[in-house]
């Protein structure tokens, strides 16, 4: 089991969702985050104040999957999020020690496999 974390552009989040759905990856959570990943800073001006915006808005996907789903998940994130320009984001894959489904108490593989319906 792995925890796949994908940080993507907000305007690509819908494409990632679509790609994940097509890859039959059905369990995940997303959050809005701000970050900096080496891209050039955007300059904004508010009256006399000019600032470099050091942080860019991103959407962070957290997806816990069983081993056979790791590669399809990574592919889906890349397919959905890639524009080819600096700022497309990153994917981190982490080992996952335990997973428990709160409703049933199922653990591990049973818990990362979403139930239908």
């Amino acid at each position: 089991m792995k925890l796949v974390i994908g940080i993507v552009r907000p305007d690509r989040a819908n494409d990632v969702l679509e790609a994940l759905y097509r890859a039959e990856v059905r369990g995940f959570s997303i959050s809005r985050v701000q970050g900096h990943g080496g891209e050039l800073d955007r300059v904004e001006t508010y009256r006399g104040t000019t600032v470099k915006m050091g942080l860019a808005d991103k959407v962070r996907f957290e997806i816990a999957v069983s081993d056979p789903f790791v590669q399809p998940t990574i592919d889906a994130l890349c397919d959905g999020a890639r524009t080819g320009e600096v700022g497309d984001g990153k994917i981190f894959v982490l080992p996952l020690e335990r997973v428990i489904r709160i409703r049933t108490g199922e653990t591990d593989h049973g818990a990362v496999t979403p139930v239908g319906g």
Partner: protein, 431 residues
Amino acid sequence: MTPFAAAPLSAGDTAWMLAATALVLMMTPALGLFYAGLVRAKNTLNTFMMCIAAIAVAAVTWAAVGYSLAFDGTGDLIGGLGNAFLHGVTFAPREGTAIPELLFMAFQATFCIITVALISGAVVERMRFGPFLLFAALWSVCVYAVLAHWAFGGGWLLEGGTLDFAGGVPVEMGSGFSALAAALVVGARKDYGRQALLPHNAVYVLLGAGLLWFGWFGFNGGSGFSAGHSGVLAFTNTLLTPACTLVVWFLLDLLRGRQVTAIGAATAIIVGCVAITPAGGYVSPGWAMALGALAAVPSYAVILWRPRTHVDETLDVLAAHGVAGMTGILFIGFVAQQSWNEVSDGLFYGHAGQLGWQALAALAAPAYAFCATFLLLRLIAAVTPLRGTERQEALGMDVVHHGEEAYASGEGAILVAPEAGVEAEVAVAQP
């Protein structure tokens, strides 16, 4: 429009028209708020700025040539240039009114301004800001001034007998059918029909609609150019008609989805105000209420139908303004009452010819607005692209065109020292 004999200035009329002019000007920022709430957060400022830009551009073109082309002389199709650059526009009363022509010009300017702003609703979230400014300037002269001349300034519709109290022809049908043409030329947003593109702040939408309604009392109530009967009638009808539209809209919402929606209510306010715009000073309060109820139906139908098409007429200017304006214009032909308006009867009161002139206006104004806008935008597109790249559209118009965000957090923002002089060299990057 109300045929008084040449009269001296009236202090009462002038006082009311000063207030009415300010009310109508406020409608444009109110429209900005209404539109800004309907778009996604990343396009908030650009959408609002298109309305502010309409004030900037249209006020200047109006003073330069627009007013003259609309209101100088009685040419069939267009006025003259005798009042260009406000030549001869002074404190003397405008013919047919008891208010200074200077004030008459200012009042009419606010109409031109909001009409230009209305069209932006068809192209928000994608059209570049520069070409929009150019479009606003050309449209205010080539389309608005012409339609205003037809309906208000002594052109063929007015002379023939078309009744248009406060701008069903130039403002409502003019903007609505121009919006359709603009949406076709500029094209749909890149995610249109593929993703849900939702309003980002329904409270802005309701607040904007409320302020528009407030301003509309000046718009319709001022279009009699006096504190007399027609102004009072139009003012009161501006209260009654949208209220009836709201009630019917609620019912339609309930029938369709079992819930009354807030953005639907905001839309209903606009539809009601638009419908009574041409009819305000010509129909009885009872008929005005019937008009409000009736006008909800076609606009509601178009709002349901339009998103199923490929036409990304983004904020439904056609449904809310074009269609509702047409409903109002035609309605006058049936129920105008001389006992209320001192001008003419409609079909129900024995004058069928009135309906003919109303129908002619309902054909001619949309046709001219659509064709002229289509050509105008094609012309601009030949000189400069109307929209940016897909990446810019994804980024949002606020950052791309204005270098600002509506909801900037300031976290991670680094001050650029003004004396360093390096800010020009920092590339505007993709976040």
